[in-house]
Symmetry: C2
């Protein structure tokens, strides 16, 4: 164990504990830790899964658009896609209409991988979020959706 699990002694954080940026960082690390614990899904890493998932839902999507939506920088996207291509999960193709672009599609193997992973992934999602109650988790999700622009108007 790296970060000791013994009860953490009191550390004064004062105003820092009300900082949105600080809390988001902590929360993301916590979610990651949970994901990679024994409880989490085996198989695709979260980044890879989300890329495959989105390609599956949007066949022929361009790298640039995919990156915008998932907030993955172009330089990094290039590497990610290369890995997925090498794994035989994704195929790239240059459309006639715009020969700079790259359109992404899943291979049969890729569709298979998403299918398998998604069950595991989303059923894990259901169980996540402790120590929040179910209602609180829903509320948190709703607020985050609004914050990141995936939902307009009031967070319900």
């Amino acid at each position: 164990m790296d970060v000791s699990s013994r009860r953490i002694e009191r550390v004064k954080l004062d105003e820092l504990s009300g900082s949105l940026g600080f809390l988001l960082r902590l929360a993301q690390l916590r979610a990651f830790e949970e994901f990679f614990s024994d409880r989490g899904p085996r198989g695709l890493k979260p980044g890879e899964f989300s890329v495959l998932w989105v390609i599956a839902r949007n066949p022929g999507i361009r790298q640039s658009l995919l990156g915008q939506r998932l907030m993955i920088k172009r330089a990094h996207m290039t590497k990610l896609i290369r890995v997925l291509e090498d794994l035989g999960l994704v195929s790239r193709r240059t459309p006639e209409a715009d020969r700079r672009a790259v359109e992404l599609t899943l291979t049969a193997k890729g569709r298979q991988a998403v299918e398998t992973s998604s069950t595991e992934f989303f059923s894990y999602e259901e169980t996540t979020g402790e120590p929040l109650s179910n209602g609180e988790r829903t509320q948190l999700i709703s607020l985050l959706q609004k914050y990141v622009g995936l939902r307009e108007g009031e967070a319900r």
Copy 2:
């Protein structure tokens, strides 16, 4: 500009847009982007600031405890502290009682840096969180605090 700012075309995310882990990653990236935009504070980086801030509030705190609270791994903490030491902001000292440990204190220069930065940092914090309303931001912060274990009981 890297990730284009033109309106993002519709991308089907379906269930993924309800994933807590996915949303937390997006939210953290968004907060980071905002922080490093023209609006954000100049000066210390968020990670450095939080380390200095916590040392200021907990003089003599040990590296291990600091890392636990800020979720910074030991290997990384070593590097971070070395940088801050080289900048003359932090001083390290091995306590007699436990000669493995390292106790951290701010130098005069370090205290000065925190003082200056914190005003900027926390007043920036006040303005952050769009497009959430003030109430929603407070609510979000409260839920995150509970999620990461900085608040017990019900998130108010």
